[in-house]
Symmetry: D2
Subunit: 298 residues, 4 copies
C-alpha cells in the first residue's frame, strides 16, 4: 500500500445545532475529487474525532466512502486509548472499505507509558488489523512523542507501513529514513515542513491545510517530484505563512472559517472549541485575498 | 453538598480476559464500607475511565451504587472532551443515583484552549447538570492546569461546589482558598500533600492511595481534625513514602498489585497499561510489610 | 550550623546609572537588623548575582558583612556553572566572613547533566569548602530540579547541611524530611508555601518576599513555632496574595518597586530586566495599602 | 558581512589539570585551515564559554586569531546575562580582531523575560557593537526560544545581520526567511538539519559536529550549492546518524572523545561535565570506523 502524495486531514463540519453535516462533508469531497490529492484521512485530530460518537463516526466513514472518486486512498483515524478499542475501530473502518488505519498513540497515562507500551500496543493493533497501519505521533495534542528507537522497532512489523509524524522535527524524519527499511513510508503532518520532509526522503504529507489549499499543497508535491527546487521552496514559503495565519492560535476554528471563505463547508466546531472570534477573521481574509487575488472562492 | 474527608479514586479491576470484574468492585466496596471513607469516586483517572465503554460505565456505576453503605457520598467521573458528551454522562450518572459529578478539563486541543474555553465548558455543564459539579484539574494526565483566575471565576457558579486539584501545587490551593467564597471546597488529588492541603484550608482529598490504605488516609484526616499536628505529620510522611513506592514509575499497575497483596481485588489493567513487572514488586511488598508488620492483608 | 527561621534573599539595588548602590544595601540591612530575621542571603537569584561582576560581588559581601547585626547568620550565594569557579567563590565568601554557602545547581548543559553530575559537583564543592554548604534547587530559573534521590545521597555528606528548595513542591519536602538524617535542614524558597513547608518538618525559608515584608514572614514563622495554626494559616494566606501580586509576572522589578513604597531601597534592576511598567504599579500599591492601612512605609 | 557556509562551533580543549590547552586549540585550527570551513566560532556553547574566565577568554580569542588562515571569518560568542556585560565582551572581541559577535539570549530570569526584553537587549547590544551581531537562540541550553515576531523585529536593525537558530525548527527558519529582509542571514545550529535549512533559504550552519567532521559538513554545503540534491541528502543522512551517535546523551564529552580519535585535540571537559564513560566509547569508534574505513584519523 502506497501512501505517497498529499492527503487532507479532513475536518468535520457541524451544523449550528451541533449535528454532523454529512451534506457538507460530501460537498467538500466532491470538490477535492477534482484535485491531485492522493486520498482522504477521515477522523484524525483535525476531524474532531475526540468529539464524535461511534455512531457518528460510522456515518462519516460511509459518507466519505460513497463520495470519494475512484483511486483516492481512504485512511481512517482509529486510535483510541485502549488497545482493544483501537482494534475494534480499525476492524470497523476496514469493513466499511477503508484501506489504511492511522493510529495515534495512547497518551492519557503518559507518566506510566514507556517505549515498550507503545511497541506492545502497536504490535497488537497491527497483528489484529485487516488493513495496513500508519503510526501517528502528534505531541501537540497528546504530549507523547514517538521517538526514533520505537519507530524503528515498529517499522519491522509487516503490517505497519509508515508513520505520520506531526512533531515538526525534520531531524527525526532523517533518523527514521536513515534507519528504517525503505518500504517504511514517512509522512509529515506539518504544512510548514512538507518540502524539507520530502527532500529528506519523506513520501508525502497529511495536512489540515490541504482542506483549505489542496491545489497549493499538491503543487508543492509535484514541483518537488519534478526537481524544481526553487519553485517548490517558493510554494513552501507560501504554505508557511498560510499555516501560521490560519491555524496560529486559532486551531480548527480558524481552518473552518477559512474553508467557508473558499466555498468549502467548514461549519461549526464542537464545544469547548468555539467559533472564530471576529477580530481573528481579518488576517485570514487578507491571506486568502493575497493567495487568490481574483477570487478567494473555489 | 459537603465533600469533606477522604474519598478513594476507585480503581476498576479487570479480569485476565479484559472484562470488568464487577464482583471484584463490589468486594472492594464492602471492605471500604467498614472504614471512615466519606464516599466513593467512580471512573476517574484511576478508574481507567478512558479505557471503558459507555455500557461498561453504566454497569460500574450500578455496582458501586448498590454496594455502597448508606451515607457514603457517590461521586461520578463524567468528564469527556466535548461539552455535550460531558453533559450526557453527567445526567446519566445523576439518573443512576450519583450525587456529585467530577468533571476533568477537556484537553485534546490544548494549543487552542484558553481560560475562556474552560469557563465556557464548565458553565455549560454546571447549568445543565442536575447534580453539583466538582472541577477536576489533573495536569499529569491532561497537560492542562486550571489556573487560579479561571477557578475563581467558576467558583461563583452556584452549581460548582469545589475542585479536585491534582497538580500537587499547595500554592494554588492557598490562592483558591484565599480568593474563593468559603462554600467552595478544595480537595487535593495528591496523597503526598493531604496534610499541607488541609492546613491551608482544603476540605479533604480524593486519592488513588485510599484504594490501598484507606485507614491510614482517614487517620491522617482525623488527626488533623483533632489538632494533633505532629501525629498527622508522621502519618503524612508514611503516605509520602507509600505513594512514591506504590505509584512512582508504576502508576495504576503498581496500585493494582499492591491492592491484591492487601486482600482487595486489584485485577489487571487494560492494555496498553501492562501488569506490574516482577522486578517492581519487591519494594511494594517491603513497604506493606513495614506498614502492617503482623499481616499485610486486610 | 543552624539555618532555621526566615532569611531574606537580598535584592541588590542598582542606581540609575547601573552601579551597585552599596548605600542602599546598607540602608536595607539596618532596617532588617531590627526584625526577627535569622540572617541574610547575599547574591542569590533575587540578588541578580548573574548580573554582577566578581569585584562588585566582593563589595556587596563586604557591605552586608559590616552592616549586619551580631547574630545574624550570613549566607553567600556562590554557585557558578563550573565546579572550580564555585569553589573559588565559596572560599572567597568564607574568607570575607560568610558562614554558609548557598550553591545553586549547574544548569547550562542540562541535556547532558544527570544525577551523577550534580552529586559529583556538590561533593567536590563540599569537600573543598571551609564553610557548610546548602544545596539550592531553583528550577524556575535553571530548569534543573534536584530530585529526592540525589538530595538524599548528598544529605550524607558532613559538610552539606541542608537545601533551599524553590521548586514549590511540598511533596519533595516531605520525601526529603522522611528520608534524610534529621540534621539535614530543609528550607523553602516559596513565600506561598512557608507554612506547609514548616508543618512537614521544614526548618524555615529563604524568601525574596522577606525583603519587602520581613515582619509578616517572621510572624508566620513564630506563629507556627507557638502552635497557633489558624493564625499561621491566616498570615500564610496574606503572603500567598502578596507574593502573587508583587512577583506574579513582574519578578524582581515588582519587588524593587514595592520595596521603595515601603521605604527600603529597591533601586533599578539591571538590563535586560526593566523597571516596572506604570500599569503594573497599581495592584502593588493597593496590596501595600491593605496590608498597612495607616502607612505603607516602614 | 557574509556568514554563509559552514562554521565549526569550536570546542575548548582543557588539560587534565583543568587549564585551557591553547596548544591544542591552535593544533585544531591549523587542521581546519586546510578545509573549506568558512570561519570559526569561538566560545559558543560548545566552547564551554560558561566555564571560562574573562582572562582565559582573552587568551582563547588571541590564539584562534593568530592561527586562523587569512579569509576565515572570525565570530566570537559574547552573550552574557546582562546587557552591559554583553556589550563589554562584544567590544573586547572586536578589539581583538573578531568580525562578528554571536550573542545568545539572556535566560536566567525566564519567568520575567518577554519578547520586549529580548528586543531591548539586542537593540542595545547592536547599537553599541562595533561589529555586526548574530542573534543566537539555543533553547536546549537556555530554555529560551526566540520566536518569529521578535526575530523579524530585530531583523530590521542595520547591525543585526542574522541568526543562529539551534532550536531545530525548520518551520521557524521558513517563517524567518519568508518574513525578514533578504540581507538577514539564517544559520542553523543543528547538524541533522543543515540540508533542510539550506533548501528553505538558510545560508549555512554553525556546528559542533564540524569540529569533528569538517569535510563532511563542507561537502554537504557544496553539494547543495551545486544542486546535487540526492547526494546532499545522502551526506545529510550520514550527519544525522553521526550527530546522534556522537552527541546523543553524551554532549560535549562525546565530541571531545571523538575528536581525539580523529587526531584533533579534544581534551578534557570542565567539571561538572565529566569525561566520556568507557561504555559510551564503542558506538563512537564504530561510527568513525564506518565513515573513514581506511583510517579514522586525520
Amino acid at each position: 500500500m502506497n501512501v505517497t502524495g498529499i492527503f487532507p486531514a479532513l475536518s468535520t463540519p457541524f451544523e449550528a445545532d451541533g449535528n454532523v453535516s454529512l451534506t457538507g462533508m460530501k460537498h467538500n469531497i466532491r470538490l477535492y475529487n477534482q484535485t491531485g490529492l492522493a486520498g482522504y484521512v477521515v477522523l484524525g485530530s483535525t476531524g474532531e474525532s475526540v468529539m464524535v460518537s461511534r455512531d457518528e463516526a460510522d456515518q462519516i466513514y460511509a459518507a466519505v466512502k460513497e463520495t470519494a472518486a475512484a483511486g483516492k486512498i481512504l485512511i481512517a483515524g482509529t486510535g483510541a486509548e485502549s488497545t482493544a478499542e483501537t482494534i475494534a475501530r480499525t476492524k470497523r473502518a476496514a469493513s466499511l472499505g477503508y484501506q489504511v488505519a492511522l493510529v495515534k498513540t495512547p497518551y492519557y497515562y503518559k507518566p506510566t507509558y514507556r517505549a515498550e507500551h507503545f511497541i506492545h500496543h502497536y504490535r497488537a493493533v497491527a497483528d489484529a488489523s485487516p488493513i495496513p497501519v500508519l503510526l501517528y505521533s502528534v505531541p501537540v495534542f497528546t504530549n507523547i512523542t514517538l521517538e526514533t528507537p520505537e519507530i524503528l522497532a515498529l517499522a519491522q512489523h509487516p503490517n505497519i507501513i509508515g508513520i505520520k509524524d506531526s512533531s515538526g522535527s525534520i531531524q527525526r524524519i532523517g533518523e527514521v529514513v536513515a534507519g528504517a527499511p525503505s518500504r517504511f513510508q514517512v509522512l509529515t503532518g506539518g504544512a510548514a515542513v512538507v518540502y524539507p520532509c520530502l527532500v529528506m526522503g519523506g513520501r508525502g504529507a497529511i495536512l489540515a491545510l490541504a482542506d483549505l489549499l489542496p491545489e497549493k499543497c499538491v503543487e508543492l508535491y509535484e514541483l518537488f517530484q519534478q526537481g524544481r527546487h526553487e519553485q517548490a521552496r517558493q510554494v513552501q514559503l507560501q504554505l508557511v505563512v498560510a499555516s501560521k495565519t490560519v491555524f496560529g492560535e486559532n486551531g480548527i476554528p480558524g481552518l473552518k472559517y477559512a474553508m467557508e471563505l473558499r466555498g468549502y463547508k467548514g461549519g461549526y466546531p464542537r464545544s469547548p472549541l468555539l467559533p472564530l472570534k471576529e477580530e481573528k477573521k481579518h488576517p485570514i481574509e487578507m491571506l486568502l485575498g493575497e493567495l487568490y487575488p481574483a477570487a478567494a472562492r473555489v
